[in-house]
Each structure stands twice: as structure tokens, then as C-alpha cells.
């Protein structure tokens, strides 16, 4: 009888925090990811770009275990994410938090309650400390004056900033941002970029940012990955992206389409 295949092991490089190996994912008959390999080191900021519907958010959701791959392996902080059951995910989710594209704020909670939620759920019971941390997080996104508002009373940009405050409040090792700048005015967008940079410099937070905002990429990214047709089409620094002779990359970053009037 053949011996069972050995379980895949994470990278031996201690500095590697996130590792995706050969990720394939289909929804129905549509293949979204067809072999994604990606490695991210502690404290690194990676921007994922690519046309809509190419699997950028799906890739991100694999990292935090919201989606499981059809094949391939996901490692976060040395843990094999896709082998864990839902109730065993707590250690991963203590390390990684996420900002959703639509912010995913809880409708029945105020801004303050939304931002405090992960802190309270993580076991912090000191009300004064919770309040202090909530104010600190909301000040970082310029929303400290809107504590008592419900999400329905906020603009799209304010909702997104509340979502960011909720994502950063627990000071996780890694934060995944799904289009943090979309729907924000240029000033609001810069506030978010500066906050991501601050998290990177002060707390050495590892960040993955799905974005279409090319200006942000050149401000905040250490590396850029471009997804195209289910694969990583380009991986390199922002300068390498800019200098790439690849027509697909150049068309994307310069916003050129084939459509003519």
C-alpha cells in the first residue's frame, strides 16, 4: 500500500507571513483562479490590481479563510488555513483583519459600537479602555465626531472609513483592504493612504490592498501583483510596473481600452 502524501509544510523562511501555493478556484463552471502563487513577508505592503472580475477579492478571501480553494495551499503565520475548520480559525483571525469592499458595517449598531465590536469580542471588558481605543481609531480616519450615528446616516466614504477603523482597532499583524479608496474624494483617499503608511511604519503591519487607484499604489506599495485571466500576470515593485513593456500592464495602468466610439 502506498504511503499517504506528506502534508504540505509552510515556507522555512521565518520572515514569510503569507504564502499561496497553486490556488485554483472555480464558481460553477467559471474558473476564477487558475494557479496563484504568492508570498508575502512580514511588514510588506502588496497591492493587487487587475481588471474587474479577475479574482482579486477572491484571492484575498482565501487568505483569511472565507473561501476555500478547490486545490492548492494557503499558509498564514505558519498555519495551514485551508485545513482548518471554521471554529479553528480564531488564531488566523487574531492575526489578520479585513476591510470589505462595502465596509460591511452592522446596521443595528452605531459607529462606536461597530468599531468597538472586535475589541469586545476579543475579550476586552474595560469600558474606558474600549472607548479610548475606539476614539483613537476613529480619529485616525477623521470620524471621531460621528460616534453615535448609524451606518445608514453615513455617506459611502464615511462608511468605508468606519470599516477601516474597525479593521485596524485590534492592531492585527496583517490587514487586508478591499478597495479602501473607492468612493472617496481625493482628500479622503489620501487620509487612508497616510493611515496605511503609518500602520506600516509604526507597527510593521503587513498589508494587502486590492485597488484600482494607481496614484495610491505608487504612494504605499512595496510590491504590486497584477491578476489577469486567473493568474498573476505581473509581480514587481511599483517602479518595475511603471517601466514594464508588457502591453496588458501598460493598457491597465494607463486606462486604455479597445473600445472606440
Amino acid at each position: 500500500m502506498a504511503a499517504p502524501a506528506p502534508s504540505p509544510a509552510p515556507s522555512s523562511d521565518a520572515d514569510v507571513f503569507i504564502e499561496l501555493r497553486g490556488i485554483h478556484k472555480s464558481f460553477g463552471k467559471q474558473e476564477i483562479l487558475s494557479g496563484i502563487d504568492l508570498t508575502l513577508k512580514h511588514g510588506e505592503t502588496l497591492c493587487i490590481i487587475g481588471p474587474s472580475g479577475e479574482g482579486k477579492t477572491v484571492t484575498m478571501k482565501h487568505i483569511i479563510g472565507l473561501i476555500r480553494p478547490d486545490s492548492g495551499d494557503v499558509f498564514v503565520g505558519g498555519m495551514h488555513v485551508n485545513k482548518l475548520k471554521e471554529r479553528e480559525m480564531a488564531p488566523i483571525r487574531q492575526k489578520v483583519s479585513m476591510l470589505f469592499q462595502g465596509a460591511a458595517l452592522f446596521d443595528r449598531m452605531t459607529v462606536e459600537e461597530n468599531v468597538a465590536f472586535p475589541l469586545i469580542e476579543s475579550g476586552l471588558r474595560d469600558k474606558a479602555e474600549v472607548k479610548r481605543r475606539v476614539l483613537e481609531a476613529l480619529e485616525a480616519v477623521d470620524l471621531a465626531e460621528h460616534l453615535d450615528k448609524y451606518p445608514t446616516a453615513l455617506s459611502g466614504g464615511m462608511r468605508k472609513r468606519t470599516g477601516i477603523a474597525r479593521a485596524i482597532i485590534c492592531r492585527n499583524e496583517c490587514i487586508l483592504y478591499d478597495e479602501p479608496n473607492s468612493g472617496l474624494d481625493p482628500i479622503g483617499s489620501d487620509i487612508i493612504d497616510q493611515m496605511i503608511l503609518r500602520m506600516q511604519k509604526r507597527f510593521r503591519v503587513t498589508s494587502i490592498i486590492v485597488t484600482h487607484d494607481m496614484r495610491s499604489i505608487f504612494k504605499i506599495a512595496n510590491r504590486v501583483a497584477m491578476l489577469y485571466r486567473g493568474k498573476i500576470h505581473f509581480l514587481g515593485t511599483p517602479d518595475e510596473l511603471n517601466a514594464s513593456p508588457d502591453p496588458i500592464v501598460q493598457d491597465f495602468i494607463n486606462g486604455r481600452s479597445d473600445v472606440t466610439c
Partner: protein, 266 residues
């Protein structure tokens, strides 16, 4: 649909049904784990008791009262033909305790609360609030299903008791003021022929119906997809499936409980 599609249709329907039962069983399993090892959020349970128990009283009372009244009104005339009109109180009471009280309360709660559960959770699902819970290390069954389940278990027997009580009060008023039947006759027969076993059956049924409504409605919410259309479909399914399952389960539960608490022997 081609011939091949028609031939495979019964098989596909059967496997779809099996898959649905599997999903319900998986949710029930997660609920058991949450009951045993999850965190019981008592504040959420209290909020749900207000929404489910307190909020459903109006519909349950009106349903119970008018069912008791109309049942009395219809049966009195027929019973009078045989000279049994004084037994109306006993018949209405036993019927309300064993069947009408729990079933009608269950159907009304399925409509009001089941729909709200599916819509609430479904909206959270399609707007990624359920995923947000997961990202923050909170299991959706612990946070969304368990408090609703506990609140339903606590509220449902009270709602059934209210439905029965107001049905009996309405029945009494109809016989006393509508037909000039001496209240002593009505009350004596009712008390003589209604026992704790009849009430126990009503309470047990209420408890079981509460479990069915919560499980089916929360499952519809958690399975919702495709935005507002999916939430609407889940809400409709929650009410329809809960109501049908409740009526079917009621039949088998009645047979089982009649073995445990035989009618007319106490």
C-alpha cells in the same frame, strides 16, 4: 426541457431534497456545538425575547381569541341538535390545548418571526456582515442563530399558552353572551375534561414548532445569495417551508403524544 432532463428530474429533485436536509442537519449540529461550547450572549437573547415573544403577542392573542370564538359559534349549534351543548366548553378547551392553540400560534410565529429571521440574517449575508463576523472570529451560528433559538424556546410556550387562554376566554364569552348558556355549565365541563396532559401537549408542540421555525428560517437567511432577490426568496421560503413542515410534524407529533398522553383516559 428535453427528454433527458425530464427523465432525470425526479432524481435531481430527490438529491436537492437530500442536500437540503443535510444542510439543515449541519446547522442543527453547529447549533448543538454552540449550545454546548459557544458563548451565550444573554443581552442578544433578551433582545430576541422582546422581538419574538413580546412582539408576537398581538397576533397570537387575536388569532387564538377569534379561533376560539368561531369554533364555539359553529360547534354550539350542531351540539345543540344532539342536546350536548353544555359540552362545548370541554371540546373547545381540549381542541385548543392539543391542536389549535399550538398550531395557530406556530403558524403565526412562522409568518411573523420566521420571515423576520430570514430577512435579517439574509440581508447580513448578502451585505457581507456575516463574513465580517467570521473575520472578527465570531461564529455566525453563535452570534445569529443561538440567541434566536434560545429566545424562541423561552417565548414559544408562553405564546401558545396565551393563544389557548384567549381562545378559551373568547369561547366563554360567546357561549355566555351569545347563547345564554349558564357559565357554570361551561366552566364545569371545561375544567372536568381538560387536564394537565392536554396542556402539556400544547406546550411540547409549541417548543418543537419553535425549534423548527428557528432552524428553517435561520438556514434560509444564512443560505441567501444574489442580493435583494435572494433575501426575498429566502424570506418567502422560510415562511412556506416552516408552515408546511410544522403542519406535517404536527400530525406525527399528535400520534406520538397521544401514545404518551392518551386522550380521555385521565
Amino acid at each position: 426541457m428535453d427528454a433527458n432532463g425530464l427523465l432525470t428530474l425526479p432524481g435531481r429533485v430527490f438529491f436537492h431534497f437530500l442536500s437540503y436536509l443535510g444542510q439543515l442537519a449541519a446547522l442543527a449540529g453547529e447549533l448543538m456545538i454552540a449550545l454546548r461550547s459557544g458563548v451565550w450572549r444573554l443581552k442578544l437573547v433578551a433582545q430576541q425575547i422582546v422581538a419574538i415573544g413580546y412582539g408576537s403577542q398581538g397576533v397570537v392573542i387575536v388569532t387564538g381569541a377569534f379561533t376560539g370564538a368561531v369554533f364555539t359559534f359553529q360547534s354550539y349549534a350542531k351540539f345543540k341538535e344532539f342536546g350536548f351543548e353544555t359540552t362545548v366548553g370541554a371540546v373547545v378547551s381540549v381542541a385548543l390545548c392539543r391542536e389549535l392553540g399550538p398550531v395557530l400560534a406556530g403558524l403565526m410565529v412562522a409568518g411573523r418571526v420566521g420571515a423576520a429571521m430570514a430577512a435579517d440574517i439574509g440581508t447580513m449575508k448578502v451585505t457581507e456582515q456575516v463574513d465580517a463576523l467570521r473575520v472578527m472570529g465570531v461564529h455566525p451560528v453563535d452570534y445569529l442563530v443561538l440567541p434566536r433559538f434560545l429566545a424562541m424556546m423561552i417565548s414559544m410556550p408562553f405564546l401558545v399558552a396565551e393563544s389557548i387562554s384567549f381562545g378559551l376566554i373568547a369561547s366563554y364569552l360567546v357561549t355566555s353572551f351569545g347563547y345564554d348558556m349558564p357559565s357554570t355549565w361551561y366552566l364545569t365541563h371545561m375544567i372536568d375534561h381538560t387536564n394537565m396532559e392536554d396542556l402539556s401537549i400544547g406546550m411540547i408542540k409549541g417548543f418543537v414548532f419553535g425549534m423548527i421555525i428557528t432552524l428553517i428560517s435561520c438556514h434560509q437567511g444564512l443560505a441567501a445569495e444574489n442580493g435583494a432577490v435572494g433575501v426575498g426568496l429566502g424570506t418567502t421560503n422560510a415562511v412556506v417551508i416552516s408552515s408546511l413542515v410544522l403542519l406535517i410534524v404536527n400530525f406525527f407529533l399528535s400520534i406520538l403524544l397521544n401514545y404518551v398522553f392518551p386522550i380521555g383516559t385521565v
